[in-house]
């Protein structure tokens, strides 16, 4: 954060989002925005790994999915209280993230990519096969609506939108403070100069494990709210293709920006919703659009926006994502 001015920009964005429902936007549009905010949080947590840590994970959906199922199960069987169900998702996802982080902390590059893919597919297999608990391939239905501590149900799109908004702001503040804290700086250091960082006495596996846990907790928080958008959760939320979608959203929005996750999620979801209503070949269109982005806007649309916002004091991100030409995964 470049000081007060970026705080100002953040406040303006938050204020604009806060008054959005007052402008008469239809309820189902607010639901879409809520979904964008939720997925944006998940993408932002992935940015900690990929952007700041240089750890390209193809298993992030496992944490998102575990958070989703844990919160849905907790709400159904224990209590639909928002302040209990969401933490249940966070705790479950953090535990899975800790195990996964501990298992992958010695790996790098493509080995890390495949190992996270394998481990997350194991999580998916468990969700998919454990029919009695998760509903298997049919997904999990009959989830009650979340309630506020007073007992008020979160049932309309507006309510859901505000909960997602609070989640997004909270997650952004956590992620931003992690990035700006010494551990965040050390993480970027391990990405850029692992040998030098080791020589300075940093333990790279420990740093990686902590970023994995923080990132999993945030992804779990996003996942925990996700089932309550449609009161349904299916096993595809934990599938590796979901991880790939999160990575695509991240790149569309811009790696290493944090807020780019929201832009990427917005572009992807709006695009998908609109194109799929016009043509059956929406995958083709989305694929072509994505290839065009990689070819012509490789830094992501979020970063280009960043550049445009420069006079406002948001400037270029301090850390560039693509510095190493030796072929290591960034």
């Amino acid at each position: 954060m470049a000081g007060n001015r970026s705080t100002l920009v953040l406040s303006v964005v938050v204020a604009a989002l806060a008054v959005l429902p007052l402008t008469g936007v239809p309820d189902h549009h607010l639901r879409l925005v809520a979904e964008i905010l939720i997925l944006g949080v998940a993408v932002m947590s992935l940015d900690l790994l990929i952007g700041y840590g240089g750890l390209v994970s193809l298993g992030h959906a496992a944490m998102f999915g575990v958070g989703a199922y844990a919160a849905a199960l907790f709400a159904t069987h224990v209590s639909p209280d928002l302040l209990l169900a969401i933490p249940a998702g966070i705790v479950a996802a953090t535990l899975v993230g800790a195990v996964m982080g501990a298992l992958v902390m010695r790996s790098a590059n493509l080995f890390l990519l495949i190992l996270t893919l394998l481990l997350s597919q194991m999580v998916w297999e468990v969700i998919f096969r454990w029919r009695d608990v998760t509903g298997g391939a049919d997904g999990f239905r009959g989830i009650p609506q979340l309630t506020l501590p007073g007992g008020m149900a979160i049932d309309s799109g507006v309510d859901l939108y505000y909960v997602a908004g609070v989640l997004a702001v909270g997650a952004y503040l956590v992620a931003a403070s992690f990035v700006n804290a010494p551990i965040g700086k050390a993480l970027v250091g391990t990405r850029e100069q692992p040998i030098r960082m080791t020589a300075l006495g940093y333990s790279i596996p420990r740093i990686r494990l902590s970023v994995f846990m923080v990132s999993s907790a945030i992804a779990g928080a996003a996942g925990a709210l996700y089932p309550f958008v449609n009161l349904y959760v299916g096993p595809q939320v934990a599938h590796w293709t979901m991880s790939a979608t999160l990575v695509i959203m991240l790149v569309l929005g811009g790696v290493c920006t944090l807020f780019g996750g929201f832009i990427g999620a917005a572009i992807y979801l709006v695009f998908q919703t609109h194109v799929s209503s016009y043509t059956d070949r929406w995958q083709l269109v989305v694929g072509l659009a994505f290839v065009a982005t990689v070819l012509f806007v490789p830094r992501g649309l979020g970063r280009e926006l960043h550049q445009l916002l420069r006079p406002l004091g948001l400037g270029e991100p301090r850390v560039t994502a693509e510095t190493d030409k030796k072929g290591t995964v960034r």
């Binding site: 297999e125 990575v247 694929g287 994505f290 290839v291 070819l295 693509e322």
Partner: protein, 289 residues
């Protein structure tokens, strides 16, 4: 006893398909440092070419060269644009580009070939079964097994024992020195990519008689081949072979033990190998100067 022999043969056949599709991927990954996620699409393209070729009534054995040439031609085009722009980029950018392309190709093939499961008309000669220890075993599978072994041996010879292979391997170690010797490395890379894409399509043509061809198969094969290559140790020939065998046998026998948990077991075995050896089964020895 017979049962285990037959299952082992099945595992070998599956391992050969994994090996062939993995080798194509491995060649570009190790020799050109390029991650090509369109490899699964090329596999599926090869399967469709074989299916359509065998339906036309042309000599069946020409289906395989046709698939190879089709894949290689696709590779030549892709090399021109856009792969060449990405050879020097980071793996992440390569992964993103080729993943996006594979989504495009998957939808194009669904559009062109339909969403149904297409099976090739296997020629008379390969249709029956042979009796191994009094248990029937499809001849076609033996044919795949034999051709796979021959192809893999041929590839090994090409890269390990010929002057052309030496040039390619030299390009991996130091492109600029090879350039200084008067060899156009760009052409070498183009040839390697075309060969790899051709191999992908050829393995698809061979596999089509067993796995058929349908939308979604491209992704499945890509993931399996990718796992095989990375677990094997990124670009060592023997590594890919060993890891294809491990995955082939694990998947076949896990299915036998417990169909419910077979995928979980196979995933766990492959993940276990990567946790045990973070650089893959047989890591390439690299000399940093």
């Amino acid at each position: 006893m017979e049962y285990y022999v037959i299952q082992s043969l099945n595992a070998l056949v599956f391992a050969v398909i994994l090996l062939l599709s993995g080798l194509g991927l491995s060649v570009v990954m190790s020799l050109m440092n390029f991650v090509n996620l369109t490899h699964g699409s090329l596999y599926l393209l090869g399967s469709y070419i074989a299916v359509f070729w065998m339906a036309t009534g042309q000599p069946w054995y020409l289906a395989f060269p046709a698939a190879f040439l089709g894949g290689a031609a696709a590779g030549l085009i892709l090399d021109r644009f856009p792969f060449q722009l990405f050879y020097a980029r980071t793996h992440l950018m390569q992964v993103l580009l080729t993943y996006g392309l594979s989504v495009v190709f998957a939808d194009l093939m669904r559009w062109g070939f339909g969403a149904h499961i297409a099976t090739p008309q296997i020629p008379e000669l390969l249709r029956g079964v042979v009796f191994i220890l009094d248990t029937p075993f499809p001849i076609y599978r033996l044919f795949v097994l034999a051709s796979g072994v021959v192809l893999a041996a041929g590839l090994w010879f090409l890269f390990d024992r010929t002057i052309w292979g030496a040039v390619v391997r030299a390009c991996v170690v130091d492109t600029r020195i090879v350039e200084a010797l008067g060899i156009n490395t760009k052409h070498v890379f183009t040839a390697v990519l075309a060969l790899s894409c051709g191999l992908g399509a050829l393995s698809g043509a061979l596999g089509s008689g067993i796995l058929a061809a349908f939308p979604g198969l491209d992704e499945e094969i890509l993931i399996l081949a990718f796992i095989v290559v990375v677990v094997g140790g990124l670009g060592t020939f023997s590594g890919v072979a060993v890891s294809a065998l491990v995955l082939g046998f694990t998947m076949t026998f896990a299915k036998m033990l417990s169909p419910e948990f077979s995928n979980l077991m196979s995933l766990a075995v492959m993940a276990g190998i990567l946790i045990w050896r973070p650089d893959g089964l047989i890591a390439a020895t690299r000399r940093e100067v």
